[in-house]
Symmetry: C2
Subunit: 632 residues, 2 copies
Amino acid sequence: MSYSVTFTPDNVTITVKEGTDLLTAATKAGISIKSTCGGEGTCGRCRVKVVKGNTNNSTKNYGNLSEELRNAGFVLACKTFVEDNLVIEVPAESRLDEHQVLLDKKNSGLLKESDLDLLKDYPLNPICRKYYLELDPPTLNENTSDFERLQANLQKKYNLSNLTIDLMELQELADNLRSGGWKVTVTIVNCGDKNEVVRVEPGYSKNPCYGLAVDIGTTTVVVSLVDTEKGCSIDRMGSYNKQARYGDDVIARMIYASDHGVKELQSAVIDTINDLINKILRKNRLKPEDIAVMTTAGNTTMAHLFLGLDPKYIRLEPYIPTASKFPIVKAGHLGLNINHNAPVYSFPAIASYVGGDIVSGSLSVGINNKEELTLLIDIGTNGEIVFGNKDWLISCACSAGPAFEGGGISCGTRAMKGAIERVQIDPDTLQVKVSTIGREKAIGICGSGLIDCISEMHKAGIIDRSGQFIKVDAPSIRETSSDKELVVVTTDKSAIEKDIVITENDVKNLIRSKGAVFAGVRSLLKTMQMELEMIDKILIAGGFGNYLNVAKAIQIGLLPDLPLEKFEFVGNTSLKGAELALLSKEALRKVDDIGKMMTYLELSAGNLFMDEFMSAIFLPHTDLSLFPSLAE
Amino acid sequence: MSYSVTFTPDNVTITVKEGTDLLTAATKAGISIKSTCGGEGTCGRCRVKVVKGNTNNSTKNYGNLSEELRNAGFVLACKTFVEDNLVIEVPAESRLDEHQVLLDKKNSGLLKESDLDLLKDYPLNPICRKYYLELDPPTLNENTSDFERLQANLQKKYNLSNLTIDLMELQELADNLRSGGWKVTVTIVNCGDKNEVVRVEPGYSKNPCYGLAVDIGTTTVVVSLVDTEKGCSIDRMGSYNKQARYGDDVIARMIYASDHGVKELQSAVIDTINDLINKILRKNRLKPEDIAVMTTAGNTTMAHLFLGLDPKYIRLEPYIPTASKFPIVKAGHLGLNINHNAPVYSFPAIASYVGGDIVSGSLSVGINNKEELTLLIDIGTNGEIVFGNKDWLISCACSAGPAFEGGGISCGTRAMKGAIERVQIDPDTLQVKVSTIGREKAIGICGSGLIDCISEMHKAGIIDRSGQFIKVDAPSIRETSSDKELVVVTTDKSAIEKDIVITENDVKNLIRSKGAVFAGVRSLLKTMQMELEMIDKILIAGGFGNYLNVAKAIQIGLLPDLPLEKFEFVGNTSLKGAELALLSKEALRKVDDIGKMMTYLELSAGNLFMDEFMSAIFLPHTDLSLFPSLAE
């Protein structure tokens, strides 16, 4: 038996089989719904409102939905099944809104993101170029084959050797050469020791040679359209990774892959990238064939899922990925909507939890070329740290978890419109003032707002150093059956038809996250027998970094207590490294060097990290001598 | 409107749309019917008998079918269309009987085929091997990725570097390593500077490492299953190239490809190879995954069609192939039913009409290693010739045409059961005696029978030196409205319900073919300013060669008049070269050297060949001094 399901306000109607869950139905209708727990019925993010028709809720799983919401018709999409023709309303806060990823937002009153000069250390020598050739037509006496003729001319005119060509392109070669009267524009991508002919256009083509750099984040995917010859990014677009439907962090995704296979997750990220490609092509009036090469950077799990490699052994001790260097694959083979011959390069990983995104980030900030001792912290979902300079590099991953991206926090959200990014608490009245991104009605609290919350709650004496609520005698603070919570925004001012709160449990989650990052930094330094003061420069990377208030981050003990001038926001370094790899063969060649010179410190081996972590899960730390500026 | 068509005696019934021609219907029913002209309605080979039902013959094209046959219900399958439920009988002589290709038939009273010692000049050093490894399981402290672990062990234990792996195999790697408890058998194919991991089997596998050598002939496809480690072919199978449905020679196929695209022809040859693969796998109890590499040799057009490259510019002056060196392609990409990761290597071509089959043949006979001046003649459909020794090689193609394979000859046939292979004519009575392959009822005359015919007809004074009938006063000779003909087998003794004849036109066709081969040989020698006597060795290759009577071939002027001991039959050298390439990296590396050292003489440039040809279209030649032994 099949039924129709109409989703509002989109007004999209689809037909599904009886028993289909609403989360799957929504995905089928092209509507992306949040699902932090991967459809387990525990996170409550996927709630939707049944406007018309009867649903099957026989599992009686309503997650953390309040009685009130349930009475108003709200259900969990993942645990509600179709048994009637339905009209379902998907509220704003349940949506993965792909248009609202904030890119490179310059200075929102906080430390401004640096414009990295990517080609500072490397010459512009792109891995992809177009070459124009006028060939002598063959004769009875000079009758070498078409491909050998092309080879000889590229060798003679441009000193290009070791030419390879994909069978599909070779199949078109004869006609392409002749229809242009033996004049052709050849697009060639350098793949190490080979030069791959990706495209042969008849005649002279004035169009630039385009590449696409892609940052495959656990949460966000960003693409950058690069004119490789002019050496610049000409457009960027971002959206949420559709894999979010299967869980918020890499662990949830790996579990899903273990249970259901890797194909769904691979399709989800390929879909995400293809949607971005189609948009950026349309906007820039380009055709898929025009994109001749792609570089991608992502953490090890993202790289595995992108290539369809099962990440299950990454999750299990001793945490082994299938590969750390990945084969170059043709775009057509992965179903990517660019030139089907385009080589797709994936940045190599250092280890299971220090991936290509960190290698790419290290490349883009040039940490491997610097004299000064530099610490690069990428506070994404996982929290990776690199420390060193041109002589040595050490890295680790500190399992910070998705708290600073809003994951696992009652009213957490990613940095999108309506997210609370700043919070102030009056120490006397305990009244809360907030500001949201885009000045929209509040939908939740994003990372920078959460840092503010912890810092302000501590300053106002609401919580103690361990995160426990010690002051509860205020209208904005209340105790529920399960927890204590501070109301940050009341229902009437919120966009989600309920109070936006931060609970004691949330606070403890956040303290664990910040503690993990700080413990990771300390562990790296201790392993190198160095002190915090010896760090010359701290680079903060990640989508998170755009909104980070460094002073408050130090106050809660997330970042080390060093002079503000030592900090620099470097934005999405993973994407920038992928762009750089398109622009400079020399830079791309450095990638392997970075991989080779970077030592990986496995924090789960030994007690070093655990000891540091136990000391760091206080505000700011058990050892206050590490935070001298806070004593003032 | 659809109708059922039943083919007898196969008793296969299919349903086709109204207007479908019977040739297409038969192909759909899995019945291969001859079609020398490619469905143009001119060759008359596709005749079938309408047993029941009405057919649409509105084109009134009955080709060369006699009144009698037409009255008996015979029609041309290619020009007869379905408009009723039908029962169609497909007679034996119209079938491409795939089971009857004769392979390596040793000594049928003629010069015996030589067993080539393929590894005489090269060490056994196969391009494909299996390696057994016992890996140390990863630990927290030794946590390199799976592929890097495999790489390091292959390097350490077997000194193998530059390892590559296809994404599909990489996707299985993690589970394969673990399910064998970190013991694995790895199949690796050497592809020049790369070592490709084709298969990873959990645990120890005692099975040999198999490769498949394939000779893709215009007429016949032969596969050889090779145990690469033991260095031997363990089974061979052959069948007709299903492309024959689109025409007998490369020119007809190229025309078809120009008109209809290359896909049908590519599918036909892939189908042919897959049928053989499936049979050889079944017989030897192997699975597709067990075949880890394939080498193929074919003429330039066959290589193009196999890879889906359009051969149309090969046919047009100045005769340019798309490529002469071909990319190594994965078997899965071509739809071949062996290990989908298996690299498929195609022998490079020298020129449009001297292909990889000749390069492979040259490699297998070691012409490039010999001191003595050797002439290699491959009398297939095209007639390629190589001349030289270790210091130099020159080659040409003489467009001999398919006459000696039975193509374009009224009652010609390929060398299969029922083919007339020997003919004797009593000089007094002009009575004809024949013997057939397998002593079956005669279905037509194959190459060796045709040579006998010409030689005996000339000796008996039926034809003059130009091939013209001069004696017609015998019961076995008659004049029809269009031609004069010798009846070789009468209807009552033939299997095809009509007389088997050889016409004046056939004789002239054969004289042109033999003249082309001889003129090719002379042109090569003249270009090198050498005389026939300077040839130390003549190697005859090709399916044809199995049945060649050297003495009679000299009598008609097909082969030069040299002592019989200078001749050697070397059989299918194209296949043997493909086998050798599997067995020795050193041999495979020589292939490029052969390509580089071989000069191609384009016979259509200048007048040399045409002058020689004009002198050679007599029996045996205008210049009798070239055939001193015949004067005796």
